[in-house]
Amino acid sequence: MDLPQITIPYLSDMAIPFLTNIPILLIVFISFLVVYIIFSVILIYHWTAYGMHNGTILFAETVFTAVSLVLLIMAFLALNYF
């Protein structure tokens, strides 16, 4: 059975090459970093103020910070290899 084929108009000519240059990707990365910092502050504030120093909260805080830092570092390295 033949699969339906869809044509993407103009995509190869304009949008993709423009969006995939280092300055634009760097802006995307920095924007994500800013959003991440804002949400981290919100979450850590909630955990500290209302978490009652619960062991589960401390565990969640550690996992959240560690994994998100790994993701950010890997994203930055991937950007360097681009």
């Binding site: 090459p17 995939t20 995307v28 994500f32 969640a60 993701l71 950010l72 994203a75």
Partner: protein, 184 residues
């Protein structure tokens, strides 16, 4: 002090923390996990459905670009997961020796805190409905106050609702007995 934010009285202690069952949260977690694993599974079929995508000219390392975008996507899902988890975990009832402190975390910036003294508790109703709730021991719990402007406090999918009701009733009885013995 662990429960400083609750402003407990000097000889008051938290006996029980009542939260929703983890099954309530698992739906969010599975949805986010699905969205996290979706892109790598779909990527090999992109060219089949969009043949013109092969013509896209990218001056750079394409796998590195895809990895970069994927990692940002996973980071977005990771933050969403913890926002949902925070809403789930901070929605809690603290049962102390004197009262129930009800923290209703409606949204990340919407939090309501209420107190019910055991003297004011008129009834505690629980409702375990269905096969899964019976199997996993969770259900809905409703506390009704006996004051003039009677109020109802409700939490759905609570873990071990029978235990919660038993503890509330035993402390309510203790307070009633103390009052009786003191001739109040």
């Amino acid at each position: 002090m662990k429960y400083k934010a609750l402003h407990l009285e000097s000889d008051e202690h938290v006996i029980l923390e009542v939260r929703k069952h983890w099954i309530v949260f698992i739906g969010h977690a599975l949805t986010l996990s699905f969205f996290a694993v979706f892109p790598p599974f779909v990527l090999p079929y992109v060219e089949e459905f969009f043949p013109t995508s092969a013509d896209i000219n990218i001056s750079g390392n394409l796998p590195a670009l895809l990895l970069f975008l994927y990692l940002l996507w996973v980071l977005f899902l990771w933050i969403s997961f913890f926002i949902e988890w925070t809403k789930y975990y901070l929605d809690v009832w603290y049962v102390t020796g004197r009262r129930i402190i009800i923290v209703d975390q409606k949204d990340i910036f919407h939090r309501e805190v209420s107190n019910i003294r055991f003297e004011k508790v008129q009834d505690v109703t629980l409702d375990v409905d269905g096969f899964i709730p019976t199997l996993l021991k969770f259900g809905n719990i409703r506390v009704q106050t006996a004051s003039e402007n009677s109020q109802e406090f409700y939490m759905n999918s609570v873990r071990h609702p029978e235990v919660v009701r038993k503890i509330i009733f035993s402390h309510q009885n203790k307070i009633g007995d103390n009052k009786f013995n003191n001739g109040v």
